[in-house]
């Protein structure tokens, strides 16, 4: 059993494959808690161990691990780096599945949904050949996200439903994944204006995220409930959830949630005619986009809440 080292503690001591596996496990655990900086440090350390061992298999695994962390941190461009090479070089179906999945996720989040679909399908084929239901479910959720990006809400709903069904049938503790899929499906239902089932799913997801201490998903669920209430015209009910999302995003460094929360709070304040508060949150949002100097004025002039999508 390797002795856990603090992040960044690579030394001249010879490392083993067990050291790498331990770092990978701890990195994933940090992702599950939403501890992004810790997961980044551990992924960096794992890559250094793989390099020190000059182990091609571990180097490929460390590339996909790094991509996973970068995607969680909201950096899909950096996450893409190295995955195509892994996909071409690896002879292992598990590594190929991982590389294709994270490549699809990265491309999707860069708006390249056509290419994302190709790699998501490849990941799905690898998952099928591995007969791995977890990877199949993960790929179905990814397909749901791709359909959502394309604006095909019905197809997204079906894909999320398949993912949910796969995960609920599995033995073991899959609450981390279930919270994310329920959040995605709930959000999709809200966009389809199916408020009752959407809010039920979002509240279930929020309760699960809190129960397992997954602060990242808790932030996303809070944001999505705020959006749902705003969409229903319930600005007062939206406010506490938007504030909770903002606080969690600030604490965890979740930039995308922070932007969305600033927008939601600005819009809530505008609807409730709290001009100073509205100004404050749209100013904060404006700071994220210095290249668009009139964004604040635009948002104060136009109500886009009924046609927006978040994340």
């Amino acid at each position: 059993m390797p002795v856990p080292r603090p992040p960044g503690a690579i030394t001249d001591v010879p490392m083993t494959r067990a050291d790498y596996t331990d770092l990978e496990r701890r990195c994933r655990a940090a992702v599950h808690r939403g501890a992004l900086q810790e997961s980044r440090d551990l992924a960096t350390e794992a890559a250094a161990v793989a390099e020190q061992l000059a182990d091609a298999d571990l180097m490929e695994r460390s590339t996909t691990l790094r991509s996973m962390v970068l995607l969680e941190a909201g950096d899909p461009v950096a996450a893409e780096h190295g995955l195509r090479e892994v996909l071409l070089a690896t002879a292992d179906d598990g590594t190929a599945c991982r590389a294709a999945f994270y490549l699809a996720s990265s491309l999707r989040r860069q708006g390249k949904v056509g290419r994302a679909l190709v790699f998501a399908q490849r990941a799905g084929e690898k998952a099928a050949s591995l007969r791995d239901s977890v990877w199949k479910a993960r790929c179905q959720n990814l397909l749901g996200n791709i359909h959502l990006n394309k604006g095909d809400l019905e197809a997204a709903d079906r894909a999320y439903g398949r993912a949910l069904k796969l995960w609920t049938r599995l033995e073991g503790d899959h609450r981390f994944a279930l919270a994310i899929v329920r959040d995605n499906l709930g959000y999709c239902r809200i966009l389809r204006r199916r408020f009752r089932s959407g809010l039920t799913l979002l509240n279930e997801a929020l309760a699960t995220a809190r129960a397992i201490g997954d602060r990242r998903t808790e932030a996303e669920c809070s944001q999505d409930i705020a959006h749902a209430q705003l969409t229903r015209g319930q600005a007062g009910a939206a406010r506490p959830f938007a504030l909770s999302a903002l606080r969690l995003a600030e604490e965890g460094g979740y930039r995308d949630v922070l932007q969305n929360a600033c927008y939601l709070l600005g819009e809530i304040a505008r609807l409730e005619q709290h001009d100073d508060e509205c100004e404050h949150y749209f100013n904060r949002l404006q700071a994220f986009f210095p290249q668009v100097p009139r964004l604040r004025e635009f948002l104060r002039a136009f109500d886009i809440s009924s046609i927006l999508t978040l994340h």
Binding site: R25, R28, V31, M68, L71, S105, R108, R109, G111, V113, G114, V118, G124, A127, A128, L130, R131, D132, S133, V134, W135, K136, N141, L142, G144, N145, L148, N149, K150, G151, L153, A156, R162, L166, L170, G172, D173, H174, F176, A177, I180, V181, N184, E220, D256, F289, Q291, V292, R294, L295, E297, F298, A301, F302, D303, I304, I307, L308, T309, L310
Partner: protein, 107 residues
């Protein structure tokens, strides 16, 4: 959808800046890897048919749509709901009066 426009906002400039910035955000969250190993289950999965080539983004009446080619050669037009900023772009485009005809561009 719109409220009273503040005339001091230079919309054309804004539209140019927003369009060039294109700060699109993603939709939905992908599930990162679990600490748990795969279950080895055998549930079958139905995969959708390939959508064909890269979808093309077009503007119709100021609203963004993606056009995808189906395997049989037909095309399908779907509203593009990729993020709040796309809608902001669409609304800007509609307000300044362009996009009434279909304009295509590869993403």
């Amino acid at each position: 959808m719109t409220r009273v426009l503040r005339r001091t906002v230079p919309l054309l400039l804004l539209a140019t800046l927003v369009l060039s910035a294109n700060p699109v955000q993603s939709g939905g969250r992908d599930v990162p890897e679990s600490q748990l190993p795969g279950s080895g289950g055998t549930t079958s999965t139905a995969w959708p048919a390939p959508c064909g080539d890269e979808p093309v983004l077009v503007w119709v009446g100021g609203v963004p749509y993606t056009v995808s080619l189906n395997p049989d050669g037909s095309a399908q037009l779907e509203p593009s709901l990729v993020g709040v900023w796309d809608h902001l772009l669409a609304e800007t485009a509609r307000l300044i009066g362009f996009g009434d005809t279909v304009e295509g561009s590869c993403p």
